[in-house]
Symmetry: C2
Subunit: 135 residues, 2 copies
């Protein structure tokens, strides 16, 4: 299991083969080892790393931001410098969490309202738009 070809690593992490090569070109994967034939060789860690990338993308991080997150995690360099960047990322993440919680509360209100009033002609508005003037 410790040496997979690109097809297997792609399938196991749920991304396309072309995407794996693309991420490598974009510096998200570090150069992979190669067989003499030129075939890339991956191990388990790449599967995990690709999973992390996929997840972070779903959370709205760009590839550039994900590259940063990965560097934070894997670099061996100056630790105090890393420290500040990690703190910054944490506060970005906390902001996202707060926004999501707010969206969730808004949706919960709709659900609650729907439950109590099944033919509402005036659903509660999340955040917004009083009315549309009919003319």
């Amino acid at each position: 299991m410790s040496s997979m070809k690109i097809g297997e690593v792609a399938k196991r992490s749920g991304v396309g083969i072309e995407t794996v090569r693309y991420y490598e070109r974009q510096g998200l994967l570090l150069e992979s080892k190669r067989r003499p034939s030129g075939y890339r060789q991956f191990d388990e860690s790449t599967v995990e790393r690709l999973g992390y990338i996929r997840q972070a993308k779903e959370l709205g991080f760009t590839l550039a931001e994900i590259r940063e997150l990965l560097e934070l995690s894997f670099t061996q360099s100056n630790c105090s410098h890393i420290h500040q960047r990690a703190e910054d990322k944490i506060s970005d993440i906390e902001t996202k969490i707060r926004s999501l919680q707010q969206m969730k509360r808004a949706l919960r209100k709709i659900v609650a309202h729907c439950k109590s009033n099944n033919l509402s002609a005036d659903c509660p508005l999340v955040h917004t738009n009083k009315r549309r003037e009919p003319k």
Copy 2:
């Protein structure tokens, strides 16, 4: 304040004028009222709505998903149908929150490690990649 031109609504909500028109074309804004001249007229609610869109985008929702979220919030239609869709969105959101909390914990570990060991040659790895064989 209750009737703004596109430039003002754009500035106040922190998006570009072209973007406001683009969102309208994409059905995220509902057709705006017009002056006889053709100039669009917006009110406060559009500023809020644009803010909501901006925030949702930062959280990784696509415009198509955001359109859905907005419909959930503003529609007057069949409430029990809405109910299920709102529940689905809520669970998507909960998944995102959990992922973010996991990322946050991982970053906190880095920070803690950096604090205790300021010249680490072996930062703890979020999720991953044991080592890079030097050859």
